[in-house]
């Protein structure tokens, strides 16, 4: 049978960001998928070489809007390791609280986009209404909605007061209550299940071979969550990675949905265990000559920062690998064999963040 090539993207209603995929089709079936990225390259890695190492915190945050806290957290942890700075315990807990709030808003955003992708507009609005509550907490506690600039080298820039923590507790309770109302629609609704169950299967063996990270790997039954390594204050909190064994769209939805509950639980634990004290220690001197690798679990998976300092105020090299970049090979594995109408949903279930990937 003769094949047709259909270009998917870079502009497509389901994609907020430009990802181009050439789909080689036979009838309605995909036989091959060839990705092309490079539409939103901004040269942020190069920019960091010209800036002061303290200014870079603000630059790496702008790599990705959705997981800005985790980017700054990974960078700060790297520099702190390089300069042997001991971060106060309170700052570690504050970082965890903000990071988990970011995870909640990222997963709620993704659930909304998923509902929108299969045409369930009212469900999309239900989910995004709750996301707005998280954004309001961010603005109230850190001073901005999306790129909150909460992290600094040596701790966090702001502290949380008792009243703010009570408010966070109340708001996440509300979100939990609202989410329980729509949870059954995502997991049990007939039409929703029809679009999710059995589509885009990534087996455990494939996920290991293609180095899938984050919810993609966990939905294929790989118990891999970087938070279990106990960086920041995660070592003092009690949690288990959310797993599912099917590896299809439904499994990925399930994992992300349950991770919201997990994040709510983690925030509650962190607020109950947070110690009193300083939240920022002053940083003196320059990062000494050396290199370091820092890893953090983002909503989409594992982000890796490689930092090389040469003793001056500028870094010699900053290299970062984002989770979406690691998940694109898995997407290319999932696409062949599926129908054209499933492509938007399949791309969405890896939770792509293209501007992250291209930096």
């Amino acid at each position: 049978m003769s094949s047709t090539i259909i270009p998917f993207g870079p502009q497509h209603p389901v994609l907020p960001e430009p990802l181009h995929i050439r789909l080689v089709m036979e009838d309605e079936k995909i036989v091959e998928a060839i990705p092309a990225i490079g539409y939103v390259h901004r040269g942020l890695e190069k920019l960091t070489e010209t800036k002061d190492f303290t200014q870079n915190v603000y630059i790496v945050e702008r790599v990705c809007g959705i997981c800005s806290v985790m980017h700054a957290m990974a960078y700060c942890q790297g520099i702190e390791e390089l300069m042997n700075i001991v971060v106060p315990d309170r700052a570690k807990f504050l970082r965890v609280i903000w990071a988990e709030l970011h995870r909640i808003h990222s997963h709620l955003l993704w659930l909304g986009l998923l509902a929108d992708a299969f045409g369930f507009e009212s469900l999309f609005m239900q989910v995004w209404r709750d996301r707005e509550k998280v954004m309001d907490i961010m603005e109230e506690t850190a001073g901005a909605r999306v790129v909150i600039s909460a992290n600094a080298i040596g701790g966090t820039r702001r502290d949380l007061s008792k009243e703010q923590m009570v408010k966070i507790n109340l708001t996440i309770d509300e979100i939990k209550h609202d989410l329980e109302q729509v949870e059954s629609v995502f997991l049990n609704n007939y039409t929703v299940k029809h679009r999710l169950v059995g589509r885009g299967i990534l087996t455990k063996a494939d996920a290991i071979e293609l180095c899938a990270v984050g919810p993609m790997a966990r939905a294929s039954g790989i118990s891999m969550d970087l938070r279990t390594t106990g960086y920041s204050a995660y070592g003092q909190l009690d949690f288990e990675p959310v797993l599912h064994n099917d590896g299809d769209n439904y499994a990925r939805t399930y994992v992300r949905l349950k991770e919201i509950y997990q994040s709510i639980d983690l925030i509650k634990q962190a607020i109950s265990k947070i110690p009193e004290g300083e939240h920022l220690v002053p940083v003196k001197g320059m990062p000494p000559k050396g290199e370091v690798i820092s890893r953090v679990e983002q909503p989409r998976g594992e982000v890796l920062y490689y930092l090389r300092a040469n003793g001056t105020k500028n870094l010699e090299r900053l290299r970062l690998r984002t989770p979406t970049f690691a998940n694109i090979p898995s997407l290319m594995k999932m696409l062949p064999g599926s129908q054209l109408s499933d492509v938007p949903l399949l791309i969405l279930t890896i939770d792509p963040c293209i501007s992250c990937t291209e930096r």
């Binding site: 630059i59 702008r62 603005e139 109230e140 901005a144 790129v147 600039s149 109302q181 609704n189």
Partner: protein
């Protein structure tokens, strides 16, 4: 099939989640980073720390001219300058900047003032 029914009835009787924006505005939260509104120029010592700390290179301090200039459209509102200022003279506002027709820079120049005790002209 009817998993959404409870929510639908709740939404029918509850208030809308959105605001009619231009007519009804939300008060900004306390300590929100809205914009860098300017500089209390009489307190400024023109040390230039804010200029060096700014990650977006939005601030220009001129010691000879005794001027402090910010490009508010280049500013990323991280408030690094506000924290770094030794005299705490940079004003951070909670309200956001409104859209403008021109990308004008905000330049504040210190004028000469006469100190009362000596009668000497200082700047």
């Amino acid at each position: 099939m009817f998993k959404m029914m409870g929510n639908i009835f709740k939404n029918l009787v509850s208030k809308p989640a959105t605001r009619l924006y231009p007519f009804e505005k939300r008060e900004p939260f306390k300590n929100t980073r809205g914009q860098i509104a300017g500089c209390d120029i009489d307190k400024c010592i023109f040390c230039g720390i804010c200029q060096r700390k700014c990650p977006a290179d939005a601030i220009v301090v001129n010691k000879e001219e005794k001027s402090w200039e910010i490009d508010q459209f280049r500013c990323v509102i991280c408030n690094a300058c506000v924290e770094a200022c030794p005299k705490k003279c940079i004003i951070s506002s909670e309200t956001h900047k409104t859209p403008q027709y021109k990308k004008d820079k905000l330049k504040i120049v210190q004028t000469e003032k006469i100190t009362e005790s000596t009668g000497k002209i200082t700047t």
